[in-house]
Amino acid sequence: MPNIPNNADSNSTAVSSLGDQSLGDSDSVSDDSGPASASESGPTNASEPGPTNTSGPVFTARGIEKTYSSRLPVVGRDVEVLTGADFELYPGEIVGIVGENGSGKSTLMQILVGALAPDAGTVDGDATVGWCPQETLLYDRLTVEETFELFGEAYGMSTERVRERRDELAARLDFEQFLEYRVDRLSGGNRQKVNLAVALLHEPDVVLLDEPYTGFDWETYLAFWELTEDLVADGTAIAIISHLISERERFDRVVELRDGQLHERAEPPQQARSAAHDSSSSSEEVAES
């Protein structure tokens, strides 16, 4: 599979070039381009494209299996988390991933980004990826500026572009005044802002967010959703692990991880996005998330 050029230093996204990318498992990919059916509930239905997409998926996961095995031979027990999860994400769609605590959402996301190896299954794609993990996996003793410098280097960005993007994101998420602070001296909410901004630094084609707004204040929470709307409008594919019922209307699709597999939720996708702006979620809900 050919690589698309890295768009880290470009203001434009590479989504338009992604649409025709073939995938290794393309024989199992639905050619449907219409909205997901509201009545679907089978375990493989989490791969239906979003309502606004006519192109192919930006990435595909097939038959993902993961079991956490105990290292204790007698008293320990294995925990089967994923039992053949399928997932596809299309350019310009925003997908919610829901599920009970311990259902394996974070495990799935770690497998999707390559932080964790699956026991079985495939993940195929050809896009730049931004990952915002649930825990702020950052270096405590580096300043926010230094953190961006390091991750900019990891993404292969130029120094100037890192600064531009850092300042853009800091302004957007309101942590400009903390750029010279060490990460371990930030509040939980500000640390989470940096955690999110690191994932978005290189303008990835795909953004995978694991409960990204934990600890956000209300204003930042709203700014976050405005930011995601803009990203989606630019063609970025976004998957968000969420626990808030009130947020489901913000998604094109909602998939539920249950019994180790992803199931499409019966959500009316199209009107949801327009209604999302009218969401009446409370700031308390954000804090509790």
Binding site: P2, V129, W131, L137, L150, F151, Y155, D205
Partner: protein, 265 residues
């Protein structure tokens, strides 16, 4: 600046923001050297000792201080940033670059600990070949810095990792000092019959060091084993580190996140 340059610079910055570590690097060497000297001062002058017991004690303490401090920094280098490294690897920073940056930092600490330790020792002991003695201390520090990285990846908790390292360094130093002769030997493939004492990681740096300090000569037969131990520790650290910072491979898919944080064929 290259990825390695940036990563190394930021690792050093992180280290310098650990005031307790820096204080430890300055305070512990003189304390350990003097404690060892005082502890052995009451020993009788045995024919197996190369110098007065207090002098031997200070020399042994110096090697322990340089090695253990570097090992401790190696351990905490890994523990403090393991999760960050995992994410940076997913973002595209090559694991070998991150590990190299950490090893450079450990090397700097090994040199710094050796400078402080050697200075303290030199003030108290007449060192016959200072250059050789200092190089031996650095070798011991590097060896334990690598072992610290290994312990940090295998036992990724501060308390347990520190305990393992303390016991390892303590037993190793006691065995290799020659103060407590152990007659036990084992038969190994290729090398044949080897004394247990010779298998202690610090045994050969210890010989290099004490020979340089007391005789002013180079114990050539101990250089290769020292380098072999360092190579072994390096390999163990590399393997453990690549395992502990997660799998970038999508395994069965045969696809790996490449250096730009994207999936590659």
């Amino acid at each position: 600046m290259s990825a390695l340059g940036t990563a190394t610079r930021l690792r050093v910055v992180e280290l310098l923001r650990r005031p307790r570590t820096l204080v430890g690097l300055l305070v512990l060497p003189p304390v350990v050297v003097e404690m060892y000297g005082t502890a052995l001062a009451s020993f009788p002058q045995l024919p197996t000792l190369a110098a007065a017991p207090a002098t031997v004690g200070r020399t042994t303490g110096a090697l322990f201080a340089a090695a253990f401090l570097a090992g401790l920094v190696g351990l905490f280098q890994l523990l403090s940033a393991r999760s960050g490294d995992e994410r940076a690897a997913v973002a595209g920073l090559p694991r070998h670059t991150m590990l190299a940056a950490r090893l450079v930092t450990v090397t700097l600490v090994a040199v710094a600990a050796s400078v402080v330790t050697f200075t303290v020792l030199w003030l108290r002991v007449d060192v016959a070949a200072p250059g050789l003695a200092f190089a031996s201390l650095v070798a011991a520090g590097l060896l334990y810095g690598l072992l610290g990285v290994f312990v940090g990846t295998v036992v990724p908790r501060e308390l347990e990792g520190s305990i393992v390292l303390v016991f390892l360094a303590d037993v190793d130093n006691a065995l290799s000092s020659g103060l407590f002769p152990v007659e036990l030997s084992v038969s190994l493939p290729v090398v044949g019959e080897v004394g247990v004492t010779d298998l202690a990681p610090l045994a050969h740096p210890q010989e290099l060091f004490t020979t340089a300090v007391f005789e002013g000569t180079y114990a050539s037969g101990h250089l290769a084993p020292t380098l072999a131990w360092m190579a072994l520790s390096m390999a163990a650290a590399l393997l453990a580190y690549s395992q502990s910072t997660g799998g970038s491979s999508h395994g069965l898919a045969g696809r790996v996140t490449d250096s730009l944080g994207r999936w590659a064929a």
